[in-house]
């Protein structure tokens, strides 16, 4: 709302730039130098105005204690980064998450928004869905499913399961009942699959699904 003086805009820009490569703020004298101001008092004067108008916050008597409050605009959010390990399809084995994948930064990864991030953001990985075989879990071709790597599931968990005999990968709700496993589709209109417990490999539990719809 208040007008932005040329000087103040210049200072604001410098603050932003400086803060991006170092992660701390410049001193008054550094601002003075960068903005070609001939006195520290002028810097202080303008900083005072910037604070009054709500662009920055300052803590008195503390070095480099300038906080950019306006810069919350281009929204920065803390997100969890999740590696995309590959694809999941009905007829292909589910890729096994290797420990190396988590450290590997140069492979595909996905930014998980806070709304989708579980309490514990560890051991997560993502898979692209290929084909239309996961329809009963409301998942379709092109979707991305986010999984937490785990070998044992608890009843009711939605899991990514590999059925060796059928050579099939699927997403279902997991229920262990004695020596067999019941796999319940998420879609109530569809029938459960019941298989011997030793014919199920649980690769992880589903924590989120993301889909981008073509424009």
């Amino acid at each position: 709302m208040p007008a932005i003086s040329t000087r103040q805009q210049q200072i604001l820009d410098f603050l932003h730039d400086y803060h991006t490569d170092r992660s701390y703020m410049p001193s008054i004298r550094e601002i003075q130098l960068a903005c070609s101001i001939s006195s520290t008092s002028v810097v202080d004067y303008n900083l005072r105005l910037l604070e009054r108008d709500g662009f920055i916050r300052r803590s008195p008597d503390i070095s480099r204690a300038i906080e950019l409050v306006c810069e919350s605009e281009p929204d920065l959010v803390e997100v969890a980064r999740v590696p995309i390990l590959g694809a999941i399809a009905a007829g292909e084995p589910i890729p096994v998450p290797e420990a190396s994948a988590y450290a590997d930064e140069d492979r595909d990864s996905l930014a998980l928004p806070p709304e989708l991030t579980p309490r514990d953001p560890n051991n997560l990985y993502a898979l692209r869905v290929k084909g239309y075989s996961m329809i009963d879990a409301f998942v379709t071709d092109g979707d991305i499913v986010v999984l937490r790597h785990t070998r044992d599931a608890r009843n009711g968990d939605m899991v990514a399961a590999w059925l060796p005999m059928q050579e099939e990968a699927t997403l279902k709700h997991f229920y262990l009942e004695g020596d067999h496993v019941r796999l319940m589709p998420a879609n109530p209109d569809m029938e459960p699959i019941i298989v011997p417990a030793d014919n199920v490999q649980v690769h992880g539990k589903v924590v989120a699904v993301m889909r981008r719809v073509a424009a």
Copy 2:
């Protein structure tokens, strides 16, 4: 890889916490106080080790110039913020996005990860899905759909449509054919709906779907 001493972990934690509410770093003496260390030299000693092991970076002779390099883990990503306007269910009208909603910051909003963000992040809003009536679009109860507000859709777009006569909201692919509209379910197993063109109100086109699966 290097062992983390108790002291050093304590300091690291304090650095992180301090940096979250102020956005600058503590001074050596503040670390000393917070971690109950009786000398600044001990703080400096441990900071030196932390820097050697790559946990932090320091700029000599500059106040509070500590950078957390390990803390790049909780990845900061620029995301688009999208207001959540309400719910969409089969029998209820679709909430109309008001201009005010975009400016309104204190209502619910959603952080859209870059992978789901369209080229143009304007006029977006989100709706919670209630009930199981959108199953044919692979959308189920509890999902969040992200829409771009638009009144006219092009053929093939996935749209949120309100059918006044049926009093029904639905997500379908939109095809205008002469004076009637064909609404194709995303699920190929289901039948299209064909209605007169004046019995369709398009409220927006779907750009993304997000689902959090209960643990």
